[in-house]
Each structure stands twice: as structure tokens, then as C-alpha cells.
């Protein structure tokens, strides 16, 4: 996106957002969206590390059908911890709160988000919630699974359910405020010339995500509060012994948690749109369709929660309606994949690390999406729900999709964030290792799921062992794929090549300011006069020929 006006790179001597203050207070009380993004990055990496450790212990445990490494109660606490931390304290904030916070205002040509102080409050709420969850683990853990199904969670579990639920409840308010902030920022702070259909697709996807955050998260808060009422005071809401209905909890929980699934994939789709356009040097094919598909997914995502409950004893006719709607919600996702593929046609494609992650995203997300069609098929779902088939399916979407998108975005904007280039060859290697390790971990889980291996099993029938061994082997490769970037990105902070303002020669206003950006992002407000993704393949090819010559 080209802009008119004097947006020259500022003098190197002027302070950028990283050098603007070196005290701890300058970070903890910052209202700069870029610094808040960094705060989120560090905190979600902490939560990711704890949750990944839990996964590692489980994978080692599952090497043998009669696990001897941990007790059954410990195993149950491990998968609860893994789910709760990964969903609420890594995936949901990953792209929106880290990359979104960092680039949304710059993409819009704005100086900050609409409510910078509220933005900082979001992070504090998130951290209070996260610390409470970590505390609940330290004092003994929780064994309900991240889904908190009643009446097990409200009456029968003897673990620290209330503490953990309170942590999630508080962090939820951080999500709501972040969503609100992003909606208003995108709505009101677009620079002159930045019309809705000139916005980068990343902004469209985060706009759709924010709508879900604002509308769905309160329902989670209500659900957890009702569960707590029953647990603390024995008020009968969900436990039939107290006159309640346990299925009601599932309806409420999935009314939040299914839309939340889209919180965990839409931002990844947004990142991939940026990456594909930049590294294929082409405008996204069918831009409007991809943009509106995000909104369609956000809206339809609210209408399919019952597909988590096909065997719950809900009415079979309700099951049919939810199945049909689930097939319909797959269509906008398919549209996106087709458009990304079409974008590559007649492009000038290069394979830097972010592009490898983007291509990996398309591959893994497509498999995740297609296996979603299996689960939406009522008769098949009866067999495979609550088995490893489901586990594999949602890991393909959330890890294969969202985490690949996050890694791609992190590498793409790393020069902007840190002012340094990461080592390209190592980056490509890590992307490759992640892709191989991921498939080896989760593909065998589809097979054992169809063969009947239930999820959340500490002991299992011996015929499933071979698949568990393959999965654990894959997980150890995947671990290397994640560890490598941590090492070389840290290394690049001091030793990496200094990044120019626009290392990828990308459109997008965030590249029209120095790396790392100054505190106020832009010296003068940019004005947008062209369409988004104004790349020219022919020009790039000429440049490539000159370089090769």
C-alpha cells in the first residue's frame, strides 16, 4: 500500500519504542500498544512453556498402555492444565493480543489503539487470571478437563475448581476489553484514505475475532459463575440431584466455546493472507470474498454449538439442525483456501520462513477442516466423538493452523518488532521440522481415534500402543521445532543483522515506519491512495533478473 505525504524514515538517533525507557516501570506502566504486545508475548510464552511441559509428560506417559510415570489423578490434572493454559492463556491471546496489539494501529496509520490505558488493563486482568490458574496448579491442580462438565465439576471433583475458574473468569474480562478496543480502533482510527475495503485482511480477521470476543466471552463468565454457585452453595442448576440439568451446562459452555474456536483460527487466517500476498507478490485473489468470509465465519460460528453434543442426549432433530449449520460454516473457510491457492497463480513466489509457515498453515488447516466434515456427519460423529479423532482434528486446526499462523506472523513482523533480522536458514529449518513433527504427532491420532481409542485415557487397550509411540516420537520432533526459534530469535536480538524499515518490500503501512518503530509510530499521519496488496510481479521479476545477473 503506497501512501503519499512525507513519511520518511526518521533519523536513526530518534528514540524508538524499545529505547524510549529502560526501567521496569517504563514497561509495566506503558500504554504503548507495541510494548503491551511485547508484554503479552512474554507472558503467553511462559504459559505455553508450562502447558507444553504438561503435554510432554502426558506423551511420555502414553508410551506404555499402563502408564507408570504418573498416577491417574495426576494425568487428569495434566490434561486439564494443558487445555486450560493452551486455550485461554496461549491460543486466544496469541495472535490478537501479541501481533494484533503490535501491528493493528500501525496498519491503520494510527498512533495507538483507541483506549491505550484500557489496553494495559486488559494485560493486567489477563495476568491476574493467569497467576490464579498457576496458583491453582501449585496448590494441587484441577481434574475436570478444560470443559468443566457438570455435575462432575460442580459436585464431584475434589480439586481446586473454583480457583481455576476464577482465573479464567478474570482473564475473560481482559479478552472482552481487548475485543472492544480493537473494534473501536478499527472502526474509528483508520487514517485518511483507509476505507474498509482497503484494509489489510489481517484487520478484517481481527475485527471479526473481536466481535466474537465481545459477544461470546460474557456467556463463558455466566456459565462459570453458575457452576460456582452450585459448587459453593449447592444451588441446583446443573446437578439433577439438586433439581438441575447437566445438559444445560453443555449448551451454555459450547455457546461460548464454539465461537471461541473461531477466535483461535480467524487471526491465523488473517496472518496467512498477509504472508501469501507478500511472498507471492500478488494481491489476494477475491479480496472482498476473503474479507467477508471472516465476518460470515464469526456470525455462523454462533449457530453451531450443538455439534459438540450429538451424543449428549439432546434431541435428534436438534442434532440435525446443528449438523446442517456446521456444514454451512465450512463453506466460508473453503472459500478462503481456494482464494489463497488462486493468489499463487502467476505470482513471483519466494520461500522465506514466514511463507513456509503460511503454506504449512494451508496444508494443516485444510486437513483439520476436512476432518471437521467427518465430525459434522452425525452418524460418524457418534463413533468418533470423544476419541482421539477429535483430539487430532482440533490440534490440526489450533496447532497446525493457529500456531503455524502465529509463528509465520512472528517471523514476518520480527524485524519490525526487534529491529533485527532472524537467521533465514535456521528459520526455514525450524518451519520444516515443525511441519514434519506435527504430522507425525497428530496424524496417527486420527487412525487410533477411528479404531476406538477414547480421549482422556491414562490406561488404554494395548492395541493402540503403536499409534501412541508414533505420536510421542512426533511430539519430540515438534518440540525441537518450537525450541529452535526461541533460541535463534533470542540470539538475533543482539547478533541479528539490523533490519531495514521494509525488509520484505511489503505493502502495508506498518512497513513505512522505521524498524523498530518510534513511539508514536508515524511522524505525520499517512494518507492511503491505493488498493491493498498493490504488488507488481513483473517489476519484482525484473529486479530478480538484475540480482541474478
Amino acid at each position: 500500500m503506497n501512501a503519499t505525504g512525507p513519511i520518511k524514515a526518521m533519523a536513526e538517533t530518534e528514540k524508538n519504542y524499545l529505547t524510549a525507557g529502560h526501567t521496569l516501570g517504563s514497561w509495566l506502566f506503558t500504554t504503548d500498544h507495541k510494548r503491551i504486545g511485547i508484554l503479552y508475548l512474554l507472558s503467553i510464552l511462559l504459559f505455553f512453556a508450562v502447558a507444553a511441559l504438561a503435554a510432554a509428560v502426558m506423551r511420555i506417559e502414553l508410551l506404555s498402555p499402563h502408564g507408570h510415570l504418573v498416577l491417574n489423578e495426576t494425568y487428569n490434572k495434566l490434561f486439564t492444565l494443558h487445555g486450560v493454559l493452551m486455550v485461554w492463556f496461549f491460543l486466544i491471546p496469541s495472535i490478537p493480543a501479541v501481533l494484533g496489539n503490535f501491528v493493528i494501529p500501525m496498519m491503520l496509520g494510527a498512533r495507538d489503539v483507541a483506549f491505550p490505558k484500557l489496553n494495559l488493563l486488559s494485560w493486567y486482568l489477563f495476568m491476574v487470571g493467569g497467576v490464579l490458574v498457576l496458583y491453582s496448579i501449585l496448590v494441587g491442580g484441577v481434574d475436570t478437563g478444560w470443559t468443566f462438565y457438570t455435575p462432575f465439576s460442580s459436585t464431584y471433583s475434589n480439586t481446586h475448581v473454583i480457583t481455576m475458574a476464577t482465573g479464567i473468569f478474570i482473564a475473560g474480562f481482559g479478552s472482552i476489553l481487548t475485543g472492544l478496543n480493537f473494534i473501536i480502533t478499527i472502526q474509528k482510527m483508520r487514517c485518511p484514505g483507509m476505507t474498509w475495503f482497503r484494509m489489510p485482511l489481517f484487520l478484517w480477521s481481527l475485527y471479526a475475532t473481536s466481535l466474537i470476543l465481545v459477544l461470546a466471552t460474557p456467556v463463558l463468565a455466566i456459565t462459570l459463575a453458575l457452576m460456582a454457585l452450585e459448587r459453593i452453595w449447592g444451588i441446583g442448576i446443573f446437578d439433577p440431584k439438586l433439581g438441575g440439568d447437566p445438559i444445560l451446562f453443555q449448551h451454555l459452555f459450547w455457546f461460548y466455546s464454539h465461537p471461541a474456536v473461531y477466535i483461535m483460527i480467524l487471526p491465523g487466517m488473517g496472518v496467512v493472507s498477509e504472508l501469501i500476498a507478500c511472498f507471492a507478490r500478488k494481491a489476494i485473489f477475491g479480496y472482498e470474498w476473503v474479507a467477508l468470509a471472516s465476518v460470515a465465519i464469526a456470525v455462523l460460528g454462533f449457530l453451531v454449538w450443538g455439534h459438540h453434543m450429538f451424543v449428549s442426549s439432546q434431541s435428534i432433530y436438534a442434532g440435525m439442525v446443528f449438523s446442517l449449520l456446521s456444514y454451512i460454516v465450512a463453506i466460508p473457510s473453503a472459500i478462503k483456501v481456494f482464494n489463497w491457492t488462486a493468489t499463487l497463480y502467476k505470482g513471483s513466489i519466494s520461500f522465506e520462513t514466514p511463507m513456509l509457515y503460511a503454506l504449512g498453515f494451508i496444508g494443516l488447516f485444510t486437513i483439520g477442516g476436512l476432518t471437521g466434515l467427518f465430525l459434522a456427519a452425525l452418524a460418524v460423529d457418534v463413533h468418533v466423538t470423544d476419541t482421539y479423532f477429535v483430539v487430532a482434528h482440533f490440534h490440526y486446526i489450533m496447532v497446525g493452523g493457529m500456531v503455524m499462523g502465529f509463528m509465520g506472523g512472528l517471523h514476518y513482523w520480527w524485524p519490525k518488532i526487534s529491529g533485527r533480522m532472524y537467521p533465514e536458514k535456521l528459520g526455514q529449518l525450524a518451519a520444516f521440522i515443525t511441519f514434519i513433527g506435527f504430522n507425525l504427532t497428530f496424524f496417527p491420532q486420527f487412525i487410533m481415534g477411528y479404531l476406538g481409542m477414547p480421549r482422556r485415557y491414562h490406561n488404554y487397550a494395548p492395541e493402540f500402543q503403536i499409534y501412541h509411540v508414533l505420536s510421542t516420537a512426533g511430539a519430540s520432533i515438534l518440540g525441537v521445532g518450537y525450541l529452535l526459534p526461541v533460541i535463534y530469535l533470542l540470539w538475533s536480538l543482539r547478533r541479528g543483522k539490523k533490519a531495514p524499515a521494509n525488509p520484505w518490500n511489503a505493502t502495508g503501512l506498518e512497513w513505512q515506519t522505521p524498524s523498530p518503530p518510534p513511539v508514536r509510530n508515524f511522524e505525520t499521519t499517512p494518507v492511503v491512495i491505493t488498493e491493498p496488496y498493490d504488488y507488481s510481479t513483473e517489476l519484482d521479476e525484473k529486479n530478480a533478473e538484475v540480482e541474478n545477473a
Partner: protein, 303 residues
């Protein structure tokens, strides 16, 4: 049914492979042909985007409808138990399955059934939600406290098949399993006769009906006016307030545990609740008895 589920699964797999090819063959082609620095014709194409978009929206949409219809139809058949079947009751509790046969035989974590007959299970839970999962029969049904749910299957081959609990239910969730033992009909009969209790389910129910005092009001010649239960099961019951409910297992269960919630029209709310005084297994026995009474003619009608 298992074969039909597998067929649908195969269909889904083929469609998925088709889609994967549809996306990744052109993608690989583009990644190779248009990689940077490779000479290729890159003159921008002139083409109406919306036409392409409509095509790749409509075609998958029809495919989705087809898949939905196929799966929904099969699901509908799976959810409707056939009229005549061997019946057994299942009570799930942390962490075991307790089973009663209509003949009165009881088992824990094992279910013996004859090959070639349809088996219908009526299930409930004493505590948390469990899920009765029979992977060999591609069947799963959550077993919910306070509700009766059903599952049916028709085994064809003798052998032993897994029962798993598929809904997380606490510490020993992964140990809450067992086996379905499918036997040749003659072997099944032998098994049934060995260790068969003197009372079948209906007879146990009848005994409980007296012992718990139900017969004091619901049987002939009593002072307190309560509805007679002959000929009630499976028929519509008019309630106070004008609604009409079907007298099925769930209705009888609720009438025993929560009698005030649905009062038959013309009767007073005088029945005490039996919550906590009757176990889930006993409830199944009493219901079996009342169901048996359902085949008899109501004395009031007879007059």
C-alpha cells in the same frame, strides 16, 4: 449399522482426498512454475472474480448438503430402536457399569448377549455423566444422571468386544470399561440359565412395589385415591393444567422421584418423593413391573 458407518466414513475420506488434490495439485504447480526468478508468463489475468467465487461456493455447498443428508439419514436409523428387542438396563457409576437383564441376571462391566438378536439398552447414571461406547458397533451414547437414554445394536459375530467410558468422569475414567460378550444363541441360553436368580426384572419390581408401599395407594381397594397403573404405560396421560404426556420410562421415573412435578389430572398432590429411598437399579425394576402392567387392561376401563 457398523458397515454403513464405515461406508460413510470411506465416502468422507474419498471426498477429502479429492479436495486435497483439488487444492494441492494446483498449489504445487504454482509454487514450482511461479517461483521467483523462474521465467514464466506473469501477465495479469483478466477474469471476473465473482464468477469463480460463485462456482467454488456453490459446488462445495451442494456437496455439503449431500453429506449432511447421508449422515443424518443414517443417524436417524441409528437413533430409532426397532420395536422388538432383547432388553437390558445399564447404570453407570464412578467407575463401573452395572447391568440387569430382563430375565433378572446381573453383571458388572460385562454384557452377555446372543448373536443375531437386537439388543436394546436403557441407561442412566448414578452420579456424573458417563458415555457407553462400543467401538466395534460404532456406537456411543452419553449416560446422563436423571435421564433415561437408549442405545441399540445387533451383534452378528460371536466374540468379545470393548466397552469404554467415553465421557471424562473422574480419577478412574480410563479404567471404566469392560466387554460385550457375544455368544451363539444356545450358549447364551446356557449362560442365562446358570446362576439365574429366582426373580426376573418384573417379579423384583412387583416385590418392590409392595415393599416400598406403592401398592398401598396404586393397587385395588385402597382408601387414598391414586391412579391405577394397569394399562398406563405407553399411553398418553392427561395432566393437571391440560398438558398431555406420554407415559414412558422417563415419565414414570419422574413420577416416582419428583411426584409433584407432573400430576395426573383429577388426582391430588399427595404422593411423597422416593428420592434417596430407591436405587437406580430398583427404579428399573419397578418400571419393568409398571411396564408389564401396561399390557393389562385398566380396571376402570373394564367396568
Amino acid at each position: 449399522m457398523a458397515g454403513q458407518v464405515d461406508l460413510l466414513y470411506l465416502g468422507l475420506t474419498l471426498i477429502s482426498v479429492f479436495y486435497l488434490a483439488l487444492i494441492f495439485v494446483p498449489m504445487t504447480f504454482c509454487l514450482f512454475k511461479y517461483r521467483r526468478g523462474r521465467p514464466a508468463d506473469r501477465t495479469p489475468i483478466r477474469l471476473k472474480t465473482w464468477k469463480v467465487e460463485i462456482i467454488w461456493t456453490i459446488i462445495p455447498a451442494f456437496m455439503m448438503l449431500g453429506l449432511f443428508g447421508w449422515a443424518a439419514d443414517l443417524y436417524y436409523q441409528m437413533e430409532r430402536p426397532p420395536a422388538s428387542a432383547l432388553e437390558a438396563t445399564v447404570v453407570g457409576k464412578q467407575w463401573m457399569w452395572k447391568i440387569q437383564h430382563a430375565e433378572g441376571n446381573r453383571e458388572i462391566n460385562e454384557l452377555h448377549v446372543p448373536a443375531g438378536r437386537t439388543i436394546k439398552l436403557t441407561m442412566t447414571s448414578e452420579d456424573v455423566i458417563h458415555s457407553f461406547y462400543l467401538p466395534a458397533f460404532r456406537l456411543k451414547q452419553d449416560v446422563v444422571p436423571g435421564r433415561y437414554v437408549t442405545e441399540w445394536f445387533r451383534p452378528t459375530k460371536a466374540g468379545s468386544y470393548h466397552i469404554f467410558c467415553a465421557e471424562f468422569c473422574g480419577a478412574d475414567h480410563s479404567m471404566m470399561g469392560g466387554n460385550i460378550i457375544v455368544m451363539a444363541p444356545a450358549d447364551y441360553q446356557t449362560w442365562l440359565n446358570t446362576g439365574r436368580p429366582s426373580d426376573n426384572l418384573v417379579a423384583s419390581g412387583e416385590r418392590l412395589f409392595r415393599e416400598l408401599g406403592c401398592s398401598g395407594c396404586h393397587a385395588g381397594g385402597t382408601i387414598i385415591r391414586a391412579p391405577r397403573l394397569e394399562g398406563v404405560y405407553g399411553k398418553p396421560v392427561p395432566l393437571q393444567g391440560g398438558q398431555i404426556v406420554m407415559a414412558d420410562d422417563q415419565y414414570i421415573r419422574d413420577s416416582i422421584l419428583l411426584p409433584a412435578s407432573q400430576i395426573a389430572a383429577g388426582y391430588a398432590n399427595v404422593m411423597p418423593s422416593y428420592q434417596g429411598r430407591i436405587s437406580e437399579e430398583q427404579l428399573f425394576q419397578v418400571i419393568a413391573y409398571i411396564k408389564d402392567l401396561g399390557d393389562k387392561q385398566s380396571p376402570e376401563e373394564g367396568k
